[in-house]
């Protein structure tokens, strides 16, 4: 066990003051829940507006006329065609077409704004520096705060404090003053709901967050509900549903690689991705719905109806909006069709389950 003290986000004191239960995550002390509890925090987010501290994630700026072309040497996404003000989800891949991390990239006009996972941010920064040095300027801004305001009321709330967000559609980003503080705001998130992610200078973070929490629709939400929300939304969690042993095609993320990048390659593992696009993969990431009420969690072995092992669950738990267990995992391609009957082996018992389409809860992104 490490003796290194846990890192704290700029909102740490606020979480403690709100009575959060703090846990270790990616070397940070983070709120897993507030006194409200995970179930209620999850449901509140889908009913109104939940505010999440995601400052532990890594924010990076890439600057220079060749930044987009340079980044394309590390990701399969089309970054050069990303118009100013537009945002894209993409992946860092390795030479085996395995996934090093998933990330968001926004064309902020005079730079690319990149957000990577907390657990990977040091390795991702080193990866960028190793491969992109000399091609563009790389500036880590790990000290900045990042908060996510998610839910059907998020836009109404944020409009009161940030009139500059008017007209933003899903997957867009812009510089906006929030309660007078210059921030970078994207309309995106990790819950399947409409919502925003707000990058705030660290010295203003607590004030902006308290201002948001003062709005009647808003409650603070912890990492516990963040996980149940994203699972219901069918979104991958790096290190669990995707990692260096899974390719984008196995993971059902082929849409990340557009026509031009499929044809041109030029990123690590491109040949393997091309092969898998042409010839298929042996296994696929799918949604899995246990038939009863018992959850089937990460690591649960999956068998087909005849008892043959066909895969493993990579994320699983209880979906509060669904009102029952939900999961995702990898199964043999021959068992991947929607409706395929499966058995999840939980504590020696074989629980009936089936392949289910994702998301389990429909997305409600704002696409005017």
């Amino acid at each position: 066990m490490s003796d290194t003290p846990l890192k704290e986000t700029p909102l740490h004191a606020l979480h403690v003051a709100l009575g959060a239960r703090m846990v270790e995550f990616a070397g940070y002390a983070m709120p897993v829940q507030y006194p409200t509890g995970i179930l209620a925090e999850h449901q509140h987010t889908r009913a109104a507006a939940g505010l999440f501290d995601v400052s532990h994630m890594g924010q990076v700026r890439l600057t220079g006329p060749n930044a987009a072309a340079a980044l394309e040497t590390l990701v399969p996404g089309d970054i050069q065609a990303l118009a100013p003000g537009r945002q894209r989800y993409t992946l860092f891949t390795n030479d085996q077409a395995g996934i090093l991390d998933d990330l968001m990239v926004t064309n902020a006009g005079d730079h690319l704004f990149v957000v990577v996972n907390a657990g990977c941010k040091d390795a991702d920064l080193a990866h960028l520096q190793r491969h992109l040095a000399g091609k563009c300027a790389i500036e880590a801004q790990f000290e900045r705060a990042l908060v996510a305001l998610q839910g059907p009321e998020a836009a109404s709330v944020l409009l009161r404090l940030a009139p500059g967000i008017a007209g933003m559609g899903f997957m867009s980003g812009r510089q906006v003053a929030v309660d007078g503080v210059p921030c970078f705001v994207t309309r995106s998130g990790y819950t399947g709901e409409d919502g925003f992610e707000i990058s705030i200078p660290p010295e203003n973070a607590s004030r902006v967050v308290q201002r948001l929490l003062a709005e009647p629709e808003v409650k603070p939400i912890g990492l516990g509900a963040r996980d149940s929300l994203r699972l219901e939304a069918g979104l991958c969690l790096y290190g669990h549903d995707i990692d260096t042993t899974t390719t984008p095609i196995e993971a059902g993320l082929a849409w990340v690689v557009n026509k031009r990048r499929r044809a041109e390659g030029g990123y690590p593992g491109a040949a393997i991705v091309a092969d898998q696009l042409a010839n298929g993969t042996k296994r696929k990431r799918v949604g899995i719905k246990p038939a009863g009420r018992q959850p089937a969690r990460e690591g649960t072995p999956i068998e087909d109806a005849h008892g043959n092992p066909v895969g493993t669950i990579t994320s699983g738990g209880f979906g509060p909006t669904v009102g029952g267990p939900v999961a995702m995992g990898y199964v043999a391609a021959s068992s991947a069709a929607d409706g395929t009957p499966l058995q999840a082996v939980v504590r020696g018992q074989k629980l009936a389950a089936a392949v289910a389409p994702m998301p389990f809860v429909p997305h409600r992104y704002h696409r005017p």
Partner: protein, 125 residues
């Protein structure tokens, strides 16, 4: 008059006429968070003191519930199948897990009484 005792794993047992009703304490349900599923032992199952008896699942994780005594399960609380949230709402009452016929009532002497358990929880900080 029922005797109530507590284990260090935060189970309680209320014994009357040689049969103990077992559940988890208010401290335990608070630590777990919202309970979404409970796996109960079948009537007739033999349990041992400190051995696995049931499983309680929160949104995030599954946790073992141990039997505080050795004996035979005589009944499980089927109401928890439809409403596992009873464990959070009324952990010492309607949130009971199972009833066990004690093989050795002297095992109760090794468990904490209310005052002892309260001090134990306080010491957990």
């Amino acid at each position: 008059m029922a005797t109530i005792r507590f284990s260090e794993e935060h189970e309680w047992i209320r014994v009357e006429g040689g049969v103990g009703t077992v559940g988890i304490t208010d401290y335990a349900q608070g630590q777990l968070g919202d309970v979404v599923f409970v796996e109960l032992p079948a009537a007739g199952k033999q349990v041992t003191k400190g051995g696995d008896a049931a499983v309680v699942e929160s949104v995030k994780a599954a946790s073992e519930v141990y039997s505080p005594v050795t004996g035979e399960v005589v009944e499980a609380n089927q109401a928890l199948a439809d409403d596992p949230a009873k464990v959070n709402a009324d952990p010492m009452g309607e949130g009971w897990f199972f009833k066990v016929r004690l093989a050795d009532p002297k095992e109760l002497d090794g468990l904490m009484d209310q005052a002892g358990y309260d001090a134990f929880v306080k010491g957990l900080g």
